[in-house]
């Protein structure tokens, strides 16, 4: 499903080059729940960004679902992100000018679906599943952080992706909400068979994973 070969990311800074990811080989099978752990600054986010087609590797290859994503053209990669990958970010990532239902429908509309009633029906259903049926027309600023994060999960699912990438999706939430959000993500993984890659500080969460990837100084440690 997901494979990385010789993946590197070097950032050029004023104080010289930083090797955020320093040569990673990784395989994650389809339908798995994999957790990436490691100290802050170890290169987890950089790795996730390269896996997700968000940050071009300095070196190496990322293959998702048989596609060497970094050999795709700009537009093809955009389409690939749109159709095959769902993201749950570390930060608030809803567009503030759109209602929740519009935010959730947005990837489908960007993908060429346009503003169709089928898209909105799906967005409505997904928000319902996330317990946000009452807040379809609410703007992001009008709901809680936990509810925002649920809406982001709904958005990640709208195009039925093969892979969900979640980079510390709950780090800014209280414990109870964190558990609820994680339950949603794990349910998606279990019920839909969507591959889930999760970056977390929470070792209890990581221990439930089928595969644990431990990173230090940009490399995998056993």
């Amino acid at each position: 499903m997901l494979s990385c070969r010789g993946l590197r990311k070097d950032y050029v800074t004023e104080r010289g080059a930083v090797a955020a990811v320093a040569g990673i080989d990784l395989e994650i099978a389809a339908g798995r729940y994999a957790a990436i752990i490691g100290r802050s600054g170890s290169g987890k986010s950089s790795l996730m960004a390269m896996i997700g087609g968000l940050s071009r590797p300095s070196q190496g290859q990322v293959t998702v679902d048989g596609t060497d994503i970094w050999s795709l053209s700009e537009n093809a990669l955009a389409a690939f992100r749109n159709k095959r990958i769902g993201y749950v970010f570390q930060f608030a990532s809803l567009l503030p000018t759109l209602r929740l239902v519009d935010n959730v429908a947005l990837p489908a509309m960007l993908g060429g679906g346009g503003r169709s009633s089928a898209t909105y029906a799906r967005a409505t259903a997904l928000l319902g599943q996330m317990g946000l049926g009452e807040h379809l027309d609410a703007y992001p600023s009008e709901v809680s952080a936990g509810e925002q994060r649920r809406a982001v999960i709904a958005r990640a699912l709208i195009n039925e992706p093969a892979l969900i990438l979640a980079d510390e999706p709950t780090s800014d939430l209280d414990e109870q909400t964190e558990i609820e959000i994680m339950d949603e993500l794990l349910a998606v993984n279990r019920e839909r068979g969507t591959t889930l890659v999760l970056v977390t500080h929470n070792l209890a969460l990581a221990e439930q994973a089928e595969q644990i990837v431990h990173i230090a100084h940009g490399m995998i440690v056993p």
Partner: protein, 402 residues
């Protein structure tokens, strides 16, 4: 596409004060451009008219006559210098097809208009006239005869009614249409005989003006023979006739033209400057807006927006704002020109330019051009910042680096 447009609109609505300021700034610039361009084109076409619009190619006037400031362009400034009425008829110049003699007497206390208004009484010869009668919009259903007068468009009197000039009864025979030539519109036209009959009532510093004598005229409106050039005609006239000066459209206007040209060049420079600085301002503003929304743009890219869509959304936002500014500017321009129309027309006519507005359809074209230009400013100003942001990796954008 509709999605991008609605996102763009919503984005404009987020910072209402800023969007309004942008719209206002563009409105001021495009208002100046629209107003400037409209005035320029109007003045330009006004200058092309004058007596040439009345149908004459040139005028022949006494050598010493003042023509540089004549608002009429119809005849010369009223003067005591005169020419013989049969000057052209006798000479028979090949490059001239028609030369219509006119007498002009500027009189006061004639009883026409309010007490102190001076009135131009203009005598013409209906048999060879080609600048008065073609402009008749209404006339009595009979031939013109002694005692009849034709009024310019600016004088409003019922046809057939009696008009007293120096106490003598005259009949209003006809009325002229709007020609845009000031004295023509305010003039009172009559045959030579009718005008000469008033000689006894008009008192100049030394008796009645010379032009009211039989056989004397103020000048001729000249129409070229087919195929003849103004240069040929001018040369032929000057070499055949003595004591005559030839005035063509160009030379009459040249002084004014130069003055106005400087003014118009100033407006043009201002327009170019406005255009450039507005584009620059939009560009600076949109660089800031792009920076401010970097995270959102990165997010949009992450969830599948293509580069073209990102650029399209930002450019649409800019074009909506500057286009609206353009429309508002045109509206403001129209308002300003309406407010100042009177003083503007008065001023221009004073310096000798009979002012006529550009016709409606052409004003619409200028207005459309101003709006399009404003939109282009938006597109140009936002294109580069948007394009630069769209090139970046989504992860760099959402992380908010550089």
């Amino acid at each position: 596409m509709r999605l991008l447009a609605s996102l763009a609109l919503q984005n404009l609505g987020r910072r209402k004060a800023r969007s309004l300021l942008l719209i206002m700034a563009v409105a001021v610039a495009s208002g100046v451009v629209f107003t400037g361009a409209t005035l320029m084109r109007s003045i330009d076409s006004s200058m092309a008219v004058g007596f040439t619009r009345l149908g004459a190619d040139m005028m022949a006037v006494p050598e010493g006559a003042l023509t540089n400031i004549t608002a009429a362009l119809l005849t010369v400034e009223p003067t005591d210098l005169v020419l013989d009425q049969d000057l052209f008829a006798r000479a028979g110049i090949a490059s001239v097809s028609r030369a219509a003699p006119q007498k002009i007497a500027r009189v006061e206390h004639s009883g026409i208009g309010s007490h102190h208004d001076s009135v131009d009484l203009i005598g013409f010869d209906p048999a060879i006239d080609f600048t008065v009668r073609p402009w008749l919009v209404e006339k009595l259903n009979r031939d013109m005869r002694a005692g009849d007068v034709i009024l310019g468009a600016a004088r409003d009197t019922v046809l057939g009614s009696e008009l007293l000039i120096f106490g003598k009864p005259h009949t209003v025979y006809g009325r002229l249409g709007k020609t845009g030539v000031g004295t023509h519109e305010r003039g009172v036209f009559m045959t030579f005989d009718t005008l000469e009959a008033l000689a006894g009532s008009v008192h100049g510093p030394s008796g009645p003006p010379a032009v009211l004598q039989k056989g004397k005229v103020s000048g001729f409106l000249v129409e070229l023979a087919p195929g003849a050039t103004p240069l040929q005609a001018r040369f032929a006239i000057l070499s055949t006739l003595k004591g005559v000066k030839v005035v063509t459209g160009d030379s009459t206007m040249s002084g004014i033209r130069q003055g106005l040209a400087a003014l118009l060049n100033g407006i043009l420079a201002l327009m170019v400057l406005m255009f450039a600085s507005t584009a620059l301002m939009v560009s600076v503003l949109f660089s800031a807006i792009v920076t401010e929304r970097r995270g959102e743009l990165g997010l949009l890219k992450a969830i599948g927006a293509r580069r073209g869509q990102i650029v399209g959304m930002m450019v649409t936002e800019a074009v909506i704002a500057t286009g609206a500014g353009g429309l508002l500017g045109v509206a403001l321009g129209v308002l300003v020109m309406r407010l100042y129309e009177r003083s503007l027309v008065y001023y221009l006519e004073n310096i000798g330019v009979p002012f006529v507005w550009l016709d409606g359809p052409r004003i619409v074209v200028v207005a459309a051009a101003a709006v399009v230009m404003a939109s282009i400013i938006g597109a140009l100003g936002s294109l580069y910042p948007a394009w630069r942001a769209s090139r970046r990796d989504p992860y760099d954008l959402v992380r908010g680096e550089g």
